[in-house]
Symmetry: C2
Subunit: 200 residues, 2 copies
């Protein structure tokens, strides 16, 4: 039994969105499934002393151009939303609730949430937007949002974020194939070779 490809992401990370549109066919080509691991990059940035790409002087301007070009390169619909970046705490908590309580709805929710932000340009930090995406995913929005606000579910996200940092996840998308870490959607070609041939 092959282990899943673990995919750490933050819903506000545009390169995570691009990766989310490529990872399922990639995994299928190598007879793997994807384990989705929502996290919050802000916490990792505090530890590593980094900050959001678009806020870095000089680099920020380039990154806006690179994102749009990368989306065209991969032929994936994309626009940089405004405001950006946004808080994804509610979205991530709902994702964990679905993964635990309604697993078949979690993956559709993840893709719809990313597209709500990076295609429709909705502000996914707002509860009403999360509610709408939950409904579109086939979930019961009020039940999931209520669950997401409970202390044990807040703790679950905090624990997930802490675990991701302990594992070395300093940015997103971040993947593990067995124990091997791959950061960035531009490492997907290396990850594919790893999947095809084992360690190289």
């Amino acid at each position: 039994m092959k282990t899943p490809i673990e995919f750490y992401f933050d819903f506000t990370s545009p390169y995570s969105y691009l990766a989310s549109e490529m990872i399922e066919p990639l995994a299928a080509r190598h007879d793997r499934v994807v384990a989705y691991r929502p996290t919050l990059l802000g916490a990792a940035f505090k530890v590593s002393g980094q900050r959001a790409l678009v806020d870095i002087p000089i680099k920020g301007d380039y990154s806006r151009r690179d994102l749009a070009r990368s989306a065209r390169f991969y032929d994936i619909p994309f626009q940089l939303p405004e405001p950006f970046p946004v808080s994804t705490v509610t979205a991530a908590r709902c994702c964990l609730v679905l993964q635990r309580e309604h697993p078949p709805l979690a993956v559709p929710f993840i893709h719809l949430m990313f597209r709500a932000f990076f295609v429709q340009g909705w502000n996914i930090s707002e509860a009403e937007v999360v509610r709408s995406v939950l409904a579109e995913s086939g979930a019961h929005p009020t039940a999931v949002l209520d669950a997401a606000g409970r202390p044990e579910n807040k703790e679950a996200l905090k624990a997930a974020v802490d675990a991701s940092i302990d594992r070395g996840v300093f940015g997103a998308p971040f993947f593990f194939v067995d124990a091997e870490p791959f950061w960035g959607n531009d490492r997907l070609p290396q990850m594919e070779r790893w999947l095809a041939s084992g360690a190289f």
Copy 2:
């Protein structure tokens, strides 16, 4: 007449070294030449608030692993030298002197300098190492080192670094194809498509 591919690099940048081993055949495939632009990343990092990759918490550990794996992926000999990173002021000044006074020796010097650091593991901040690489390149070491230390050549490097920052070069390798910027050797596939098809 097609414009050259402009290649900004710092001799202490390991991803620049990897790119330096790939850029000539890439350019040739698209009937372009390479214009080599030595710069000093430290100055750009001051403007953008960044620092050397290997010094960033968490990210540094990953980057060491990623560098070694990327070199294997591209089948390029590589070791991370110790000490690392080092000052490349003398090497960069000598590079500019050669480009102005002995152009045919500049490209061999660039490749030999990168390999001295990332294959042999020599400390290229030391004048004796630069001297040895100059000799291997076919240059007259004392003449070039003397020229590199003259005020007008110190100014020339300072002006080159300032110009690179003005142009948005916040990291290396950094390329321009006509006016389009590409950062990182992982953008070479996008750069190749751009070269093959024009803007996409």
